[in-house]
């Protein structure tokens, strides 16, 4: 382990990606994500990699497809409106079964919105995002350290299942500074000869055709089923979540992720001091969503609250998890506003009494 240093989330995830062997990065600047592309512009050439500021987000994601097809560890990043532009390419990457990492440092929306932090791209991120029948694994960090650690994790998941992986951050996680430490070594890239062009195995070129056009419906049906067989494997192996203050039976369960979950933790601690037991289930993978973990944590509670920085999106997954077994309520903020711990403490206290 090196020294602990102070970094913005945007810088830390870029540094971690380079350390993890990412050597291709293509993107277009947008606030509040721009420190990530600036960091890559400065550091990627020093690591012997390729940095390119594309002419648009659409161009950038197609460069990602190209680099992934050639067996490279490749990443792109943007913020909400830019991620929308990338969706066509993400759908193609998913269809071509190529590994790539996409970082979304979300801002206020819809439309151009503003540059404040939001979690309003939840539906987009967890339901595929582009056209067609597919999903992408979605990792949701809650601290700068976790944001950084998700870069190597995202590459590993991407390569294991040959899928694009989305890191679902927001402006707060991108902009704030926290201490971060990088491990000395990272898992090496998986042998890309199973999918990439131009690879040799035992001296012979491996032939692959990378394609997402399957004119014959029966063939497309077969390809889609192969994709969904991999999704079953992801659901079995990759669901991640954190349980906070859930060891004793709580009266209220809160489900919250990312920046919102940080405020929830402050409120949970404050309420614990008053003798009010509130537990937090923090989904770390948003797709696949920890349905079973939410259902288990909800046993015996009076109410389940979903707290988000949007008007209620993850709430739908929470209701799917509970299947009507428990009363639910939604607490949210739009516009890029963030709860204060005092305000959230009061709201949760109201539900507990």
């Amino acid at each position: 382990m090196g020294d602990k240093i102070l970094m913005k989330g945007n810088e830390a995830v870029a540094e971690a990606a380079i350390r993890a062997g990412c050597r291709h990065y293509y993107a277009y600047p947008i606030t509040p994500q721009s420190e990530l592309i600036e960091y890559m512009a400065r550091q990627m050439p020093l690591a012997g990699g390729t940095f390119l500021q594309a002419e648009s987000e659409v161009a950038a994601i197609n460069m990602v497809l190209g680099a992934a097809a050639c067996g490279m560890r490749v990443m792109t990043s943007s913020s909400s409106p830019g991620i929308s532009l990338k969706q066509e390419g993400i759908s193609y990457i998913a269809a071509c079964r190529l590994p790539a990492v996409i970082v979304n440092v979300q801002r206020g929306g819809p439309g151009l919105g503003n540059i404040a932090p939001m979690q309003a791209d939840y539906f987009q991120a967890t339901r595929g995002g582009g056209h067609g029948d597919y999903y992408t694994p979605v990792l949701s960090p809650s601290s700068v350290q976790e944001f950084a650690d998700m870069a190597p994790l995202a590459f590993e998941i991407a390569e294991e299942y040959r899928t694009p992986v989305v890191i679902f951050a927001d402006g707060m996680l991108g902009q704030m500074m926290e201490p971060v430490v990088f491990p000395d070594s990272y898992a090496p890239q998986k042998d890309p000869s199973a999918w990439a062009l131009g690879c040799k195995r035992e001296g012979e070129f491996c032939n692959h055709i990378i394609n997402s056009l399957f004119i014959d419906p029966a063939v497309l049906d077969q390809k889609t089923r192969e994709l969904f067989a991999e999704y079953d494997r992801i659901r079995q192996n990759e669901i991640r979540y954190e349980r906070y203050n859930l060891d004793e039976q709580p009266s209220i369960l809160v489900v919250s992720t990312g920046t919102a979950a940080r405020v929830v933790k402050s409120a949970v601690d404050a309420l614990a001091e008053e003798g009010i037991k509130v537990g937090l289930l923090r989904p770390i993978t948003l797709w696949p969503f920890p349905y079973q973990a939410v259902a288990e944590a909800a046993r015996g509670v009076k109410k389940v609250l979903t707290v988000e920085l949007n008007m209620g999106q993850m709430e739908q997954d929470v209701r799917l998890a509970l299947a009507g077994s428990c009363e639910t309520a939604f607490v949210g903020k739009a516009g890029g506003l963030v709860f204060t711990p005092e305000e959230l403490t009061e709201i949760i206290r109201g539900y507990a009494s």
């Binding site: 602990k4 240093i5 704030m176 926290e178």
Partner: protein
């Protein structure tokens, strides 16, 4: 002591803690006679303008883009900057954006600043990348001077890891800043430590005065952050 100089310019590497230091200088200023000028055109979050309401209630004038421009990510400055720089009735603290990129915003005011006289301080956090050694600190100082057309006279050590700051981190930063000051003939002005951490850190061995910083720019989940994030 910390309030010496009628025009203090706070510069430093990106993320060194300039804004927190500048805000603390302003907070310690005399009500009605203190202006804090936000020249940060680099950062979209955690800017001194976030404290405008709280500070104006205390008689400290925050000069920064107004209205919805306050939340914009465009390189714009308040039209009140030049007036503030000429206002010798007030003590003026300038919070400059990080790195030479941020310091460029100073260049267009350098004539006015030189006429008035100024003290420019470089804030050093050795726990930031590219700011870890004496050489890197001096290189940063030279590039900020070139970009701004002004001279850095004083160094402020501000090595920290937020709440995870240890005594070792403070002492390491003070040693680097002190040596950089000695090598370049600048004044090693002060060593910043978060007020809340002082009891835990004991008395760090440093070659300059300790300045206890109060944390003003809080993250949304930290108690007392309300004003900054409800806008």
């Amino acid at each position: 002591m910390e309030n010496e100089g009628s025009l203090v310019i706070v510069t430093g590497c990106y993320g060194s803690g300039k804004t927190e230091y500048a805000v603390n200088l302003a907070a310690a200023g005399e009500p009605g006679r203190t202006m804090l000028v936000d020249l940060d055109v680099v950062n979209p979050y955690f800017r001194s303008r976030d404290l405008r309401d709280e500070f104006s209630a205390r008689g400290i004038d925050v000069v920064a883009p107004e209205g919805s421009f306050s939340h914009a990510d465009v390189p714009m400055l308040s039209r009140r900057v030049k007036g503030a720089l000429r206002n010798t009735e007030k003590r003026v603290i300038i919070d400059v954006g990080g790195d030479p990129m941020g310091a460029r915003a100073l260049a267009r005011f350098s004539g006015t600043i030189k006429e008035r006289g100024y003290r420019m301080r470089l804030v050093v956090n050795t726990r930031r990348p590219q700011n870890r050694t004496v050489e890197e600190v001096l290189d940063m100082a030279a590039r900020i001077e070139a970009a701004s057309g002004l001279v850095i006279q004083e160094l402020v050590a501000n090595s920290h890891l937020m709440e995870e700051t240890t005594r070792e981190v403070v002492e390491e930063g003070a040693a680097v800043a002190g040596e950089a000051a000695r090598q370049s003939g600048r004044d090693f002005f002060t060593v910043c430590v978060l007020e809340d951490l002082l009891p835990r850190l004991g008395e760090p061995r440093v070659q300059a005065r300790i300045f206890a910083l109060k944390k003003h720019l809080r993250k949304p989940w930290e108690p007392g952050s309300g004003k900054a994030w409800r806008i």
